[in-house]
C-alpha cells in the first residue's frame, strides 16, 4: 500500500498519511504537480516557508518494468516563479518505490535563529530528521562519499549543494549514481535545489533494505506489457543493444549516449552556437558522443583495468537503454565526469564555443560538485561571454569563472550561480535566451520550430523535455511543409506535451519514446505495464492533459498570462545561419496550444 510521508521542517516532525483514493493513479510529475497546485499558494515567495518541496518516484519505480526508475521533484520554482517538475535517474526513485512511498512532502522551515542544516533518512519503518552540519558547505563529490561511508546500505541520495544552500537561483537537485562515484543524476532545472536549501535541508537519504518490489494489481497484464516493451527497446536501433551479432556498434544511445545528437543537430543547422548566434560550427565533432566513445576505447586500451571511462552505462537500476557514460582523462584514464550529456556538452561547449572536451567535462564536473544545473550554467557563462567579461571559446576562463561560485564572498560567483536571466540583465546583455526565466536548451527554435512552440508554451519555462518534437519538426526547415492536412505546430506540441507528462508520471525514462512511438507493440507495452500495475485503465492523452491543466492553472494564479508564452524578441527578428530563418510561428498558434 503506497503511503505519503509529510515532513514539517518548522519543528522537524513527520507523519505518515494514506494515499487518498483520488490520488491513486498519481505518481511522478502528476503527483508533484497535483500536490503543489493543491497545497501551495501560487502568489507566495518560493524561498519562504509556505512553498513545499515534493518528491515522488514514478509509478513503476522499483518494479521490474524496464527503464522505469525515474524520480520527480516539484515545487514553486524560484527561477521561473511558476510550477516546476524536474526529473532524474539515480538510485532514489527505486529506493522509494520499494519503500512503498508514493511521495514525500516537505513543508515549513526552521525558525530564523536556527542555523543548523538537516538531512532526512528514510528506511523501512523508520524516518529520521538529523542535524548534519558537516554535510553543508562541501563539494558534492565529497558529500556522497561521506554518506556512503556512514550508511552501508548503498542508499539513494538526493539533495542540494553549496549553490542551493546559498539560495541562488540556479540550484539543481543532485542525485547519486548507481556506483556512487558521481553526484551527477540531476533534477536540475528551475532552481528547486534552492527550495531545499531554504528549508535547511542538505540531503534526503533512502535505504530500502528489507523491502520487496511493489506488486502490480494485475500481474499478468503487467508482465505481458513488460515483455513487449523490453523487446521494443532492445530491438530499436536507438535504444537497442550495444553490439549486433557481428560485434559492430548497434544501439545509438548505448554507444554514444545522448551526445549522439551533437553532430546530428549541428548538421541539421539547429545547434545553437555562441549564445544562439549561429546554428552550425566546426567544433561539434570534438565534443560529440562519438568523440567520447573513441576516447573511452583509447584509454581502455592504454590503461586496462585502471581505465574509468565507459559508455553503455545505466543511470538507474533496471535501465536497459543505458545511455550514460563516463568521460576519461586522456592522460590518466581516470573519470573526469560521469556522464557528459548532450545538453551539457552543448551548454558548456557549443553554446560557449568551447571545443576542448576536457574543458567541457571539467566544467560539467564543477557544476555537479557545486550543485548547478548545467543547461542554465552554460547559458549563464555565455552571458558573461556576450558581455565581454570573458572570451567565447576560452575554456580555461570559463572554468575560473565557475570556480568563483565556491567563494561565498564573491559577487561574481553569486552572479554565475543565478542563471542566465539575472546574469544577463546585470551585465547589460540584450540577447538573453530564456522563457519564463529559464534558459533554452540545445535546439534552436528557429529551424526547429516545433520545439520552439514547446519552449514557449510549456508551463515549465523553456524545456526540451516537455514536448520533444525534434524529429517531426526538423523537416519543417525553410517552411516547405506541403502536407495538405497541414500539421499544426500547436497540435503537435500539445500531443507531445501530454504524452510527455504521462511518461514523466509513469517512472519511465522519456527515451522510451523511440520504441513506443515507432513500434505499436512498444506503446502497448508501456500502457499495459501502467494499467497492470494500477489494476485500472488510464488514457495516456487524458492523463497527460490533466497534468498540464493543473500546471497551467497554477501559473495563471501566479500571474502568468499568454504574453509569457513567447520566445525572447531576438528569435523573431534575428535570422539564424546557415538556414537564415527566424522564429515565425504566429502568436495565435502559440495560444492555440492550450486553447
Amino acid at each position: 500500500m503506497s503511503k505519503i510521508l509529510r515532513i514539517n521542517m518548522t519543528d522537524q516532525s513527520h507523519k505518515w498519511e494514506n494515499l487518498p483514493k483520488k490520488w491513486k493513479t498519481l505518481a511522478g510529475r502528476a503527483f508533484t504537480s497535483t500536490v503543489v497546485a493543491e497545497e501551495v499558494d501560487p502568489t507566495f515567495h518560493p524561498l519562504r516557508e509556505h512553498n513545499k518541496f515534493v518528491i515522488s518516484p514514478g509509478l513503476l519505480a522499483g518494479t521490474t518494468a524496464p527503464s522505469s526508475g525515474r524520480l520527480s521533484v516539484g515545487g514553486k520554482s524560484p527561477l521561473t516563479g511558476g510550477i516546476k517538475e524536474a526529473n532524474a535517474g539515480g538510485l532514489t526513485a527505486t529506493r522509494l518505490g520499494k519503500l512503498g512511498i508514493r511521495g514525500i512532502i516537505i513543508e515549513g522551515k526552521p525558525p530564523e535563529d536556527d542555523e543548523n542544516w538537516y538531512s532526512i533518512i528514510v528506511s523501512k519503518d523508520k524516518v529520521e530528521i538529523k542535524q548534519t552540519n558537516d554535510y553543508a558547505g562541501i563539494g558534492l563529490y565529497d558529500l556522497i562519499d561521506k554518506i556512503w561511508e556512514e550508511y552501508d546500505s548503498r542508499p539513494g541520495i538526493i539533495g542540494t549543494g553549496i549553490i542551493g544552500q546559498r539560495l541562488h537561483l540556479n540550484a539543481g537537485v543532485f542525485g547519486n549514481n548507481i556506483e556512487n562515484t558521481d553526484p551527477s543524476r540531476y533534477a536540475g532545472r528551475g532552481g528547486l535545489g534552492a527550495v531545499l536549501g531554504s528549508k535547511r535541508i542538505v540531503a534526503i537519504i533512502s535505504d530500502d533494505s528489507g523491502c520487496d518490489r511493489p506488486e502490480p494489481e494485475d500481474e499478468e497484464l503487467f508482465d505481458t506489457g513488460r515483455k513487449k516493451l523490453v523487446k521494443a527497446l532492445n530491438d530499436h536501433p536507438v535504444t537497442g543493444r550495444l553490439k549486433d551479432e557481428d560485434g559492430a556498434p548497434y544501439g545509438g544511445l548505448k554507444n554514444y549516449g545522448t551526445n549522439i545528437l551533437q553532430n546530428i543537430i549541428n548538421e541539421a543547422g539547429g545547434l545553437p552556437v555562441r549564445n544562439f548566434a549561429k546554428g552550425q560550427w566546426d567544433g561539434a565533432a570534438k565534443i560529440s558522443g562519438e568523440a567520447v566513445h573513441e576516447l573511452v576505447d583509447e584509454t581502455d586500451e592504454k590503461f586496462g583495468d585502471k581505465a574509468e571511462g565507459t559508455y553503455g552505462h545505466p543511470c538507474h537500476p533496471g535501465c536497459i537503454m543505458a545511455c550514460s557514460n563516463a568521460v576519461p582523462d586522456r592522460e590518466t584514464g581516470k573519470s573526469i565526469v560521469a556522464p557528459l550529456e548532450y545538453e551539457t556538452a552543448w551548454a558548456l561547449g557549443s553554446n560557449c564555443e568551447i571545443d576542448n572536451l576536457k574543458h567541457v567535462a571539467t566544467l560539467n564536473r564543477l557544476c555537479n560538485d557545486l550543485g548547478l544545473d548545467t543547461i542554465e550554467a552554460g547559458n549563464t557563462i555565455a552571458m558573461f561571454m556576450e558581455a565581454g567579461e570573458i572570451d567565447f571559446g576560452d575554456g580555461e576562463a570559463a572554468i575560473e569563472l565557475l570556480k568563483e561560485a565556491y567563494d561565498p564572498d564573491s559577487e561574481t560567483g553569486a552572479l554565475v550561480a543565478s542563471g542566465a536571466k539575472v546574469a544577463g540583465e546585470a551585465l547589460g546583455v540584450d540577447r538573453i535566451p530564456v522563457v519564463k526565466g529559464q534558459s533554452l536548451p540545445a535546439y534552436d527554435p528557429r529551424p526547429i520550430r516545433g520545439i520552439g512552440v514547446t519552449y514557449a508554451t510549456t508551463p515549465m519555462g523553456a524545456d526540451h523535455t516537455a514536448g520533444y518534437t525534434i524529429a517531426a519538426e526538423i523537416l519543417g526547415i525553410k517552411g516547405e511543409v506541403t502536407d495538405p492536412r497541414e500539421i499544426k505546430k500547436a497540435d503537435l506540441s500539445r500531443t507531445f506535451q501530454a504524452t510527455t507528462a504521462y511518461i514523466d508520471s509513469s517512472g519511465y525514462c522519456l527515451f522510451i519514446a523511440f520504441a513506443i512511438l515507432d513500434n505499436d507493440d512498444g506503446f502497448a507495452g508501456m500502457t499495459e505495464t501502467v494499467n497492470g500495475f494500477l489494476g485500472t485503465e488510464v488514457d495516456v492523452t487524458d492523463y497527460g492533459m490533466h497534468v498540464l491543466e493543473i500546471e497551467r492553472e497554477f501559473n495563471k494564479k501566479a500571474g502568468f498570462t499568454k504574453e509569457d508564452d513567447r520566445l525572447p524578441e531576438f528569435f523573431y527578428n534575428e535570422e539564424l545561419p546557415p538556414h537564415n530563418v527566424a522564429f515565425d510561428v504566429p502568436d495565435e498558434e502559440l495560444d492555440a496550444v492550450h486553447g
Binding site: Y256, A471, T482, F511
Partner: protein
C-alpha cells in the same frame, strides 16, 4: 572511406558532382547500403532517396543508429529509419 578518420574530427570527403544524381544513386556510388544509413542531410535538411543532388552542396551522412532522437520517425518520409512511412509529410 576516408583515411585516418577520427571520431573527434569532421570526416570530410570531397566528391565530383554528377548531373541528375539522386541521393539513392549517390549512396550506390559510395557503396553504402541504404539499410545502413539513418537521418542524412542535404545542406542541413533531411534528404530523401529521390532528392536530386545539386552541385556545390554539403551532404551529412549518418549511420542507421544515429538519428534525431525522438519518436516520430514515420513522419520523416525518407524511409531510412522507418520502413512503414504512414504519410509523407514533406
Amino acid at each position: 572511406m576516408v583515411d585516418d578518420a577520427r571520431a573527434n574530427e569532421n570526416t570530410i570527403l570531397q566528391l565530383e558532382h554528377k548531373t541528375g544524381e539522386t541521393f539513392a544513386d549517390f549512396l550506390e556510388r559510395l557503396g553504402v547500403d541504404e539499410d545502413d544509413v539513418g537521418d542524412c542531410f542535404l545542406n542541413g535538411k533531411l534528404v530523401k532517396p529521390s532528392d536530386e543532388i545539386p552541385d556545390d552542396v554539403r551532404i551529412g551522412l549518418f549511420p542507421f543508429n544515429m538519428r534525431l532522437l525522438c519518436g516520430g520517425q514515420h513522419l520523416k518520409g525518407h524511409g531510412y529509419t522507418q520502413s512503414d512511412v504512414d504519410v509523407d509529410y514533406y
